[in-house]
Symmetry: C2
Subunit: 223 residues, 2 copies
DNA sequence: GACAATTTGGACAAGAGCGTCCAAAAATAT
DNA sequence: ATATTTTTGGACGCTCTTGTCCAAATTGTC
């Protein structure tokens, strides 16, 4: 018997679909492969055979597990956004609330942020995806839209506000500072990422150092 | 007789193709429509009929003028990059070399830059395109890669260096300052643009003001 | 080893899209 | 008005893609 195909019924919001009980490793390897190919070729340019090949799986298996090209796409987006969000808040939790060396601590945090959330595979995928399919599938990213950048900003802003209160920073608009911090962090990476270059660690670090240095020139406590 | 189709021979570099002598208005309207549809749907998701419809032209006419989907795509990219480059250097020429009110002048310049080069249709198109097709057609953007951001950075860096010499700024790395200036300029726009929102003028202006304010906090002459 | 679930590969119909051909209509030039 | 160029729309062949069906092979379980 072929495995139950993806159910027509829509899972209640918030409930995580258990999915058909095919071997889960295949299920994930398909999602991974699909993410890879969708990212490289775009939704329109992707065909199921590419995904099957990339996942080392027969085409039928792809259909067995995910039922539909669009369903597969949605599954991929869901998976990636979940991973990204998780990683993002994990990293945010490592913010230096009680810094010993503010500049070094902030730079290290910036490196973690860029490496684990922005420059990795998922980050690249999500960025690319939102830009290329965001207008065509607005519902798909509605969630990201409210839970993505806004949440990160405010979380980061809260940290900066505390650093201001504890006398480490001198700023009046923590939200603005948070946005500009992120912008500075990305300054050097933006262009490199646009073309899909892989980014070395030392580049990441020097980039973070320069960003933090400028950030502190603007918002640091004047001695 | 049907108009001569796009020549197979590759035009010598630097030479601007005269192209088949079809009515030029149609030629341009097709390019414009194609840019619009390619931008919305991606290369793979676009079909010639959409473009023909958007341009109010029969499908055959599209083929008469540009011969091929890929040739058309290349023509569109060439057109857009040329327009972008032209606009970019036009705007760069308005940099406040002898500022009366540094903060206000820089902010006005930033508004011009964002409005005329980054947030307009061509800017959005090029960005989206480079991100979605940059890895698949690296040759297409090889030119942009060396003539695009690098040139803008160095041009801007030269201006900042002069402002430093004339005592308006306090910086040691003009290139870095240029990149960070651009990053700050884009800080607030990035997210709004990702989803294709149209951006109001007052948002553009307040965004530029805040960016310049922070930039000057970091690089301004300390009184 | 026997049994069930899963995967595989190949064949298939239906449809979409590309690019071509062509003769009739419209626009433009002479 | 006449000749030339451009545009049009429709029909066509071709290829690629989707999604389905199914019988055989593989894998995992008891």
């Amino acid at each position: 018997m072929p495995p139950a195909t993806a159910p027509d019924t829509i899972a209640p919001p918030g409930h995580i679909e258990t999915g058909p009980r095919g071997h889960i490793e295949k299920r994930l390897s398909i999602i991974d492969a699909a993410a890879c190919v969708f990212c490289r070729e775009g939704y329109g340019g992707t065909n199921i055979d590419m995904i099957a090949a990339q996942a080392n799986v027969s085409r039928q298996t792809v259909y067995n597990h995910h039922g539909d090209k669009e369903k597969l796409f949605r599954a991929v987006v869901r998976e990636v956004t979940e991973r990204i969000n998780a990683g993002l808040f994990d990293t945010l939790a490592t913010f230096p609330d009680r810094p010993t060396d503010l500049e070094a601590d902030l730079a290290a945090f910036a490196v973690r942020l860029t490496r684990n959330c922005i420059c990795n595979r998922d980050g690249k995928f999500l960025r690319k995806l939102i830009q290329s399919e965001g207008e065509r599938y607005p519902e798909l990213f509605a969630d990201w839209r409210v839970n993505g950048p806004a949440k990160v900003w405010s979380a980061l802003a809260a940290r900066f506000a505390r650093l201001a209160l504890s006398g480490h920073l001198d700023l009046d608009d923590p939200d603005l500072a948070a946005r500009q911090f992120l912008a500075l962090i990305n300054a050097d990476l933006q262009t490199a990422m646009l073309l899909g270059d892989d980014i070395g660690d030392e580049f990441l670090e020097s980039s973070a150092r320069q960003a933090v240095r400028t950030f502190l020139r603007a918002y640091g406590k004047r001695a």
